[in-house]
Subunit: 298 residues, 2 copies
């Protein structure tokens, strides 16, 4: 019924389910009709039961509409027009101005590199604007928008959004239309890092990895390890992990057993690498001490 | 009905809603009863309508059960007993073995520091175990579990879980019962970092901050900035951001206007700091070049 009136698709469902609530009036109408002999009492009984059950179903249907039907429409709602992009010759484009992207934008701008930032969250764009961090409202998966932003002339494209699929979509778009752009991308997980690497993205940053390493270095120092030793261990760990992620990205994802045994091997290798590094480290420290002892003896 | 049988609470709802599906049999029963004069046709009609509507409602009720009712029970389901903790004298306890926590555990263990890890996600504990990374299933917000894990004798407590409230709860628990423990904590957002700092946690790591800085350094180098310059800029940025977060944590959270103007001020200050650092840097580079020129002239 609502299909033929001029309701938005999302309102149609609300309307359809709300019809069920018109039932109360039917009770009144029904008892009135029976008293006047329009309905037989059989028919009236039938109607009353139907109406009662429909009414009982109404709140349930409303809940279903709210929780299950409406969310599906969220993505097809008419969108606001993207902001007009004033900067068109910046060497860097950034997708996303969230907690990850705004740090990148600030650091690059502070060093004098023009950086154009797009984000599809209008509220976030507005909020960051209040802090003096400029970005444009717009969907970075749209080719026309990237063209307007000067993707043909830029050098770097930085992907910092946290939706994995969208990030991969942008990668494909750039590879197809702007092959000169170098991509640096945030990965939300190890699996996502694999996907990015398999698509040929060379610069991939697992989003919580570096902070976890930073924390570990401070923990090691708090436990009594000299700072340079802690930093050296972290450096080795980073290099090893980076190589491991790159290698494992090439594995067959279906072969879970092979994957697990490769991961175990990498972890064991790292243990050996750190242990032998410690020996070398210890050895050179001893040598230095001995040299000092020799010098004072002479 | 199901309340009196021995069904688990979650199964009761499934059972109650499934009863609605028993209706098909009622049709058969009903027409049989009418033919044998047990029901009048009025009664039969009424019953048929009731049954038909109940049947129509059944799939809807099943969906509601699955989507809305069952999830509410997820948190009250009888919990598996926590794993028995075998290590009780480790210097480090870690809450959480996700993508953040397992990095910390690995780096500390690789350097020879015994690290006991607790996680309330049994599946994650199992998965990491397959890669040779040991952790215990258990809720780190439980005082008795922390005691068993040796919190009285440990030196550090590392919080790496991503639920903000739970993380704060652990902080309070530790401050009350194990004041000797130094806490290092992952923060999921700037606001969460403020909360942790206000509670007196000195070591706070915003989870995506360091990776964003890492990416920025590589971007700066790709744009042509010498590596040491990029690293120096990142270092200044980190120090400045750290001081800024600590200072802003003390601000009145209700005073949004004061907050925004303070944030703008910090951002502007950083710009000046980097600019003057660049001058100093440039100056010393020039001085070095001049010195070299002098040396070659002499």
């Amino acid at each position: 019924m609502s299909r033929y009136s001029r309701l938005e698709p999302t309102q149609r469902y609300l309307f359809a389910f709300a019809l069920a609530q018109g039932g109360e009036f039917a009770f009144v109408l029904c008892s009135f009709a029976t008293q006047n002999g329009v309905f037989t009492s059989d028919m009236a009984n039938l109607l009353v039961v139907t109406v009662a059950l429909t009414m009982a179903a109404a709140p349930i249907l409303m809940t279903i509409n709210e929780r299950l039907v409406q969310p599906r429409f969220a993505s097809v709602l008419p969108e606001r027009e993207p902001d007009e992009i004033e900067e068109r010759d910046n060497p860097v484009l950034v997708a996303g101005v969230g907690r990850f992207g705004h740090i990148v934008a600030r650091l690059l701008r502070l060093n004098g590199y023009g950086t154009t930032v797009l984000d599809h969250d209008a509220e976030q764009v507005e909020t960051l604007g209040r802090y003096g961090i400029k970005s444009y409202y717009g969907d970075a998966t749209r080719l026309d928008l990237l063209q307007t932003a000067g993707a043909e002339r830029a050098k770097l494209f930085v992907i910092t959004i946290d939706q994995e699929e969208q990030a991969l979509k942008i990668v494909d778009l750039i590879h197809e239309h702007f092959p000169q752009l170098r991509i640096l991308a945030r990965a939300t997980s190890r699996q996502h890092a694999y996907e990015l690497l398999r698509r040929g993205v060379q610069h991939v940053y697992r989003e919580t990895f570096a902070s976890a390493v930073d924390l570990s270095v401070d923990a090691l120092v708090a436990l009594g390890l000299p700072k340079h030793r802690a930093q050296r261990a972290a450096q080795l760990f980073r290099e090893h992990e980076d190589a491991s992620v790159r290698e494992m990205a090439q594995l067959d994802t279906e072969d879970m057993k092979g994957y697990v045994s490769m991961a175990r091997l990498h972890i064991a290798n790292l243990e050996n690498a750190l242990a032998s590094d410690k020996d070398v480290f210890q050895h050179s420290a001893d040598a230095a001490r001995d040299a000092g002892a020799d010098a004072s003896a002479s």
